[in-house]
Amino acid sequence: MFPNENGYYGAYGGRYVPETLMSALEELQAAYRDARADQRFLDQFDDYLRHYVGRPSPLYFAANLTRHAGGARIFLKREDLNHTGAHKINNTLGQGLLARRMGKRRLIAETGAGQHGVATATVAALLGFDCTVFMGAEDIRRQAQNVFRMRLLGTEVVEVEAGSKTLKDAMNEAIRYWVTNVEQTYYLIGSVAGPHPYPQIVRDFQSVIGRETRRQVVEATGRPPDCVVACVGGGSNAMGIYSGFLADRDVRLVGVEAGGLGLDTGRHAATLSKGRPGVLHGSLSYLLQDDDGQVVPVHSISAGLDYPGVGPELSHLKDTGRVLFTTADDADALDAFMLLARTEGILPALESAHAVAVAVRTAGSMPSSSTIVVNLSGRGDKDVETVAREVRQ
């Protein structure tokens, strides 16, 4: 079972951080090990997932979308129906409870689309933490509604003007703040990225998606699905759902990265498809970088996928071939957004729309007796303005 004791998933992972943070990571690892072995902690987490988040989230058979695609039966795992509108809350609740157990008073987080920021702000309000969220200036522009939501929840949103002004830069700034305030602060990372033990903690708290999905598919169809599709930015919703199926060798796992304006344009965020191993934000993993090892600017219409790195376990799963990675570009995502809206009456997050696009593409080439599950990781209300702007152009 990954990771190994040093936080590696095969060749990837580890802890590449300033020395100032090393003790904090050791403390976190010990606290997490302790919490995982404590039934009261696990029960408390389950209780919140059930009564506060609204789990289990439904597995919905999308009959109209299936008819449109003309092939495999498409099921949607409705993480968009969770409280706060995305899968992010599973992890923020788990880590919030862990932070409280560790006696921390303040949460900090980075956010791209703002879904993780809102989920962190929500948990801060619920459990009584002070909270600061770092967000790139470009993302603040793209996701104004989520910024307002965070502020309503009592969280301070810090605008990050450095670099490309997106998720990567927000994470840089969050880490700098953490280095400065490490003793009082709990850094609540939102993806399966960052230094060990974060990729493990986030995967474990998100693994509820995979456990539920497997049970629900078997209930609905009598067997595991043929294929599971998830979008991949840092990779938390993907690892969450995959973790329920890694042992089912016959289940094809597909990861969809952001193709942006096209893989040939250089303006994309397809880390696993186009990157090579490197170190960013504390772990060794695939990375979009230039020949000198400088991290390159990335692009996606979806702020949540607009990230040059990816979680280390996904890098490992790419190398072993257990997960197949492909891309959907901005236009594919927009089409899928509209398609799901018109056929099923569901507005998906633009992140999740990437997965929908590939599921529809794939379903067409599969027999009608087969099944595909798409992790519909978030709802699209936050993206309505972006979509309206794109449709006008």
């Binding site: 040093n6 580890g14 802890r15 590449y16 951080v17 300033p18 020395e19 100032t20 943070l21 090393m22 003790s23 904090a24 450095a162 670099g163 990567k168 840089n172 880490i175 700098r176 280095v179 400065t180 305030n181 490490v182 003793e183 191993p277 490197g278 170190v279 960013l280 934000h281 504390g282 060794l284 990375l287 970088q289 020949d291 000198d292 090892g293 400088q294 991290v295």
Partner: protein
């Protein structure tokens, strides 16, 4: 052996009863030609060792001053290959110990073995990698030892006795003692743990201890001098260089070297 230059510099300081000054400049800021003149000028004015910063797109341990300098250096095409050429030129003109400070990814991308071999070849004496804690540094340490470059580790006020012992035992060249919990250039609120940290370092190694982060003023240098073998000053130099402009950069940096060295000599 190139590590001898670091040992010789600290040996000389000890003999003369002096404390060392280690200025940091970002290589390629404002341009590589100025960096070359800066190193020679600072060496001439009494700097004891110089840290050359390799610019990186995402410098996690740095405050705004060095972030900005790194960004400018990158837009001007600075990379490890050009920095190695610069060092080769410098080595013909100065014997001052030169230490490369680089985040891990540019090194990983270049190829650690090739890089360290070339660095040793052009006359780099040491390597500081702020995002490579000892646990991850095993291979790099073995390579550096084989090729004669000192892998200089950092200890932080949060490290605690067990980690400090572990780090100090694997230190080469000197031990970089971070004065505060924070990023570079954050103003002078030294950790309460500073004395304990230094005592623990000294209990586990005979190598010199240099204090860095947040040191900008001669007054601070005077206060810290009795506790360290050397002080590392980075953001203050970069800031001074920015304010002075390209033409006055060397004179401004030399002036700061002299005022800091004077402060270090005061009892």
């Amino acid at each position: 052996m190139s590590t001898d230059r670091i040992a010789l510099a600290f040996g000389g300081l000890r003999e003369r009863g002096e404390k060392g000054l280690i200025p940091f400049v970002t290589a390629g800021y404002p341009d590589l030609e100025t960096t070359e003149r800066l190193v020679l000028g600072m060496a001439e004015s009494g700097a004891d060792l110089i840290e050359l910063g390799v610019p990186f797109s995402d410098p996690l341990a740095d405050g705004p001053v060095i972030q900005h300098a790194s960004q400018i250096a990158l837009t001007r095409g600075t990379n490890l290959a050009r920095i190695l050429e610069l060092v080769a030129r410098l080595r013909k003109r100065t014997a001052i110990p030169l230490v490369l400070m680089s985040y891990y990814n540019p090194i990983l991308s270049y190829g650690p073995e090739t890089l360290i071999a070339k660095a040793a070849g052009v006359g780099i004496d040491g390597l500081i990698i702020p995002d490579l804690p000892v646990e991850e540094a095993g291979d790099i340490l073995a390579l550096s030892d084989t090729l004669g470059v000192a892998l200089i580790p950092l200890v932080a006020p949060t490290s605690g006795a067990r980690r400090i012992a572990f780090i100090a035992e694997r230190a080469r060249g000197f031990v970089y003692c971070v004065s505060l919990t924070g990023v570079t250039g954050s103003g002078g609120r030294y950790s309460d743990q500073l004395t304990t940290m230094l005592d623990t370092v000294r209990a586990h190694t005979d190598l010199p201890a240099a204090i860095g982060f947040g040191i900008a003023e001669p007054g601070q240098a005077r206060n810290l001098a009795p506790r360290a073998d050397a002080l590392i000053v980075g953001s203050a130099f970069v800031k001074r260089i920015t304010e002075a402009g390209v033409n006055q950069a060397v004179a401004a940096a030399q002036e700061l070297v002299q005022s800091l060295k004077r402060a270090l000599a005061e009892k």
